[in-house]
Symmetry: C2
């Protein structure tokens, strides 16, 4: 079966560990590629153009939108973020599953444009554990933690739009669960239409 | 997460190996139970009531239907086959995934009554391989093989009604793919609504 890649959208509460899971997943299995977003925000110290993000100007970002160069985009605080189309489609055609770490607005745009995309929502085992992890970073003030919790409350309203939830209890287990979900998704009839059509043709031929 | 069992419906061409896969799966993992169908046909030598089938009379079968004692039933050749409801629902409530090996008519009845059921269709890697396996049994006449191929042609028209196809190339791999598909299915939002609602409540509480 000459399989095509799947778009995997990953959202989740800040502090739930989605970035860590995806890094471990792509390091462990070579069937995945992480999409790199374009953004109009400035690079932070240590960030590299083309690695964390493609850093572009407002004009460049708008041009990308006009040219259908982004498969989703959204505003967040006062900057834009978007997913360049070419990278994603090249990988899909090469049979690579592409992971997009984006927010719900983008996730819904992707589902509309690519109904076969698989949407994952990463969750902590409990809200208390989320707070512990945010506090454990040691860099977040109480105010920031309160802000992240408020945002998590909001985001939690959208969970039913996702195809799967991934509970990040033990990192290694969560990585395997994500991998299992994607492997399962490769076995739907719609993703194997050529194979099914071939079998039908062969059966007709043999039963003549 | 106090998880509920899932109904797993398995159909597939005669000779594709669905019985073998399911036997290996239930032997390997204790999260599964095989449902035992009721039938009006006579037991064959070696078959035991309650093991291969519950052997019942036409009257008993009709009574089961009237009492809503069957979650699906279908006629096949000149006998009836059906799935007793109580066994399935008891297992589901105990968190056990229940496997139903049934034909497409039954599969569609189950999907209607239990939309959360997962429908699998087992296929050979090629039609030629199916013929080889049927011939390999050594017990099938050319006429019977021709009949099975005709039936496979017919059945293949229904594949798109299933949630997943399972290609039975190497038995052990096919078993693991089925297991992976079911494990993935346990992670949908609809099968974890209590957990999601709890997290929402906790987040609201903590962000007060």
């Amino acid at each position: 079966m000459n399989r095509k890649g799947i778009i995997i959208v990953v959202s989740g509460f800040s502090g739930a560990g989605k970035g860590t899971i995806m890094k471990a997943l792509t390091a462990k299995y070579d069937q995945y590629a992480l999409s790199v977003s374009a953004t109009t925000r400035d690079p932070r110290p240590g960030e590299e153009n083309g690695r964390e993000y493609f850093f572009v100007s407002n004009e460049e970002f708008e041009k990308l939108i006009q040219e259908d160069g982004l498969i989703e985009h959204a505003g967040y605080v006062d900057h834009y973020y978007g997913t360049p189309r070419k990278f994603v489609e090249d990988k899909l055609n090469a049979g690579i599953d592409v992971i997009l770490e984006i927010e719900i607005q983008g996730a819904l745009q992707i589902k509309k444009r690519y109904p076969d995309a698989v949407l994952l929502f990463v969750m902590p085992p409990s809200a208390k554990e989320l707070v512990n992890r945010l506090k454990g970073r040691g860099t977040e003030t109480d105010e920031v933690i309160k802000m992240r919790l408020d945002r998590a409350c909001e985001e939690s309203e959208g969970i039913e739009n996702y195809d799967y939830i991934v509970v990040n209890d033990v990192l290694e287990d969560a990585v395997e669960r994500v991998h299992g979900i994607i492997c399962a998704a490769h076995n739907t009839p719609s993703r194997n239409q050529n194979f099914i059509d071939d079998i039908r043709k062969q059966l007709l031929e043999l039963s003549k």
